[in-house]
Amino acid sequence: MATPKTRKTRARRAAARPARRAVRRVAEAGRRGADVRSDLWVSVQTRAAGGVDVALDSKVAAFYGESIRRAATATLKDFGVRHARVRIEDAGALPFVVTARIEAALRRAGFERASRAPGGAAAARPTERDRLRRSRLYLPGNEPKFMVNAGVHRPDAVILDLEDSVHADEKDAARLLVKGALRAIDFMGVERMVRINQLPLGHEDIDAIVPECPDLILVPKAESAEQIREVDARIRRRQRGLRREHPVWLMPIVESALGVERAFEIARAADSVVALTIGLEDYTADLGVRKTAEGLESHFARARLVNAARAAGVQAIDSVFGDVGDLDGLLAWGRRSRAMGFEGMGCIHPRQIRVIHEAFAPSPEEIERALRIVAAFDEAKKKGLGVVSLGTRMIDPPVVLRAQRLVATARRAGLIEGS
């Protein structure tokens, strides 16, 4: 279904169904109510004649009323709908949200896009395989209000989540919203991740999302290498024929005892896997133990995960810390996590970002020592010496390697000035 050819066929078929389109169809999408912000609710009722009639109730009607009407009419036209009553209740939705909601309603009414979707994601450059991934901010995929300003809080990554934060009945709408967000929002250089649903539902997510060039896809409930290869293959298939080449990295989320046992093969399942992470809510549930702030119950799993990730040459990334109010607890968790070998963790609130960056930052003393070791190594190499020494002490190769890695991380985090 990904190729232009089938799309054209579909469009032709859609155009050849005027009789069916004349049947009245009703559907709605989005949210309304006193507590809804930056979102809208729309209902579309098709009719046999009379053109498109948009009834708009918006708190921004004086400023963007025309823009909303135009978006509604244009979207209906893209779906080949020429006669409909459209009701919109808007609470200040941004343009990409307006379109995503209207499109969701039209698709629920059984329409398909008659013309090719406007292409071209926001001009995001591909991200590096081993970039800094200290913090990744979860954004519920069906909640537009948190998306637009996520970048200003400077996490290393955002995760547009299609999985647990989205109700089963809203997966279709969330998919369209996330698509729109990837296309419309400038996340300010932050890595753009999407957490898809478990397969097979995840396939639909991939097909919808990949043309918008996400940087990384998180694969939940990872339990086998086959799963990861399936996801990887699906992504490649969907990428065929796309105008832009944009690598999509994978980060499997291990969330079960079985997944932990197979962490190494999961991490090695595909070249596109760049990191391995763990979901502790599901993991502790699987074990039948309580999740604590100290994390003793998941110590083995996390240690195993770190080891598997390192063995496979990918990053090990920790779970989230659930208590948003407890920043001291978060800092302590993050420091322990770094000491175990993790390179980052997830966050569920922007206030956690800075604390996480602090927790995962090497100390000035560590950086200082690492710089001296690297300098000594460079010096020895220049002189053609096989042995590196610092003062009177001999430095073993693994110590040099660790120092080099620490310097590289510190540099990416902006903790070392100059090159």
């Binding site: 930056s38 004086a62 400023f63 963007y64 823009s67 200040g92 941004l94 343009p95 200003v152 609130h349």
Partner: protein, 525 residues
Amino acid sequence: MPAKRTAKPRHELVVNQVGRRVPTVVNGAAQTSFLGVGGYRPRAAKHAPPVRSCRDYPRNGDKRVKNLETALKKCGLRDGMVISNHHHLRNGDRVALAGLEAAAGLGAKNLMWFPSASFPCQEPVIDLMKRRVVHHIEGSMNGPLGAYCSRGKMRGLGVLRSHGGRWQAIQDGEVHIDIAVIAAPSADAFGNADGSHGPSACGSLGFALADSIYADHVIVVTDNLVPFPCVPWQIQGNNVDYVVEVDSIGDPSKIVSGTTEITKSPDRQLIAEYVARFIRDAGIMRDGFSFQAGAGGIALAFVAHLRDMMREAGVKARFVRGGSTQYLVDMLNEGLTDYILDGQTFDLAGVRSIAENPRHMATTPFTSYSYHGKGNFASMVDAVVLGATEVDVRFNANVVTHSDGMLLHGIGGWQNCLDAGCTVLAVPAFRDRIPVIVDEVTTVCGPGDLIDVIVTERGIAINPRRKDLLRAVRGSSLPIRPIREIKAEVEAIVGGAPERSARGDEPVAVVKWVDGTVLDTVWRV
């Protein structure tokens, strides 16, 4: 006496120094249009109330009368009079409405209501306007009252003044108060009154001071009558004609909030942090400095950040201007500031502190803000952090109307505070879909000449006029950006600049500058 008020006149308009069309006559009185900051210096004597003689008042000091009606009758209530109230009881106030309704019961018509601010609890004044008891309001209008005025239903023009501007208008005779009705959390029978004690304690009574000094007649209304003397007294009984005892002057739960809360929004938190870092990095935060911040969510979060930075740097403020809250009180108790100079008290911690701590001083709009003082505190404050509904690319700002032209807020002390050494407006880059930075604000409330820094979550814009500030933060890690760049970025997000709503040509209110000149017009929506 106010001019005779008849059918709505057509308004002759002139263009003032900020390019806004303003009426030349407001409610029958000729106006001076805004002449630029510091451009207007009226020369005349201050207004004075009639001479009184103590022999006309009870020698035993007991000025009690049985109810408000009696007091109003004794004050010679007539049609067309100006009745004033203060707003220290905020949304819990019961006295302003009781006074106006008592006047209605006595058959008074065409009154001008002159509150220091109005609150949603005073919505029934709309009914009094419909019944022609109240002709119009000169004072802040928001909520239902703002909508009533914005839709052109009020018979006269609304006049919006700052707290300092209200003193100016009273002092230079622009507004003559016939009867001031002052709600007092504590009072004695002589009329000495205090705000920091009693079941309806509200802290300061500063907004009522001018009324007590300059009104022809003064009525003190209390639900906590104490034997003479009421100590301390913020209102002097020597200015008071009558004292009325009532069951309750207000709903304590709505007078002060139990706690004032820091914003939970991460974006607003970020704005607050940027503001604090700016104050620090610009070198304003130094030993002996001063600042002012209100009780809004961003302002409170700013105070919390600044407090942490002051602790870290070992810096102490000499004074902080409030709106006092728990946060300022904590700073005072911790020794991070020597004094709080308090204009109004927002929460219970503030009320307790002002009653108990001699370093927590009640101030008045005269000490802090008045144009007709020999100086005032506002210009001595090093930095002030304020909000705004809109800002334009010339740094003019709006605080009274929504972008659609509806009256939304009063001016409060906002205009007066612009005189600080560094004026910072802390605003989100957009609210829902509506950008805050625009080409031209709907209503000019503060001229760009006085607004130095705009802080949004997407960047900090410094007024190019403030080369010193630009220099001071050069090399800092703060996201300093040209205002037009932030504006363009936001417009790209929200789908272009807003389509302007067509506004009528009919003035419904005017915004006065702190000197009494007309700064802008609010048009009928």
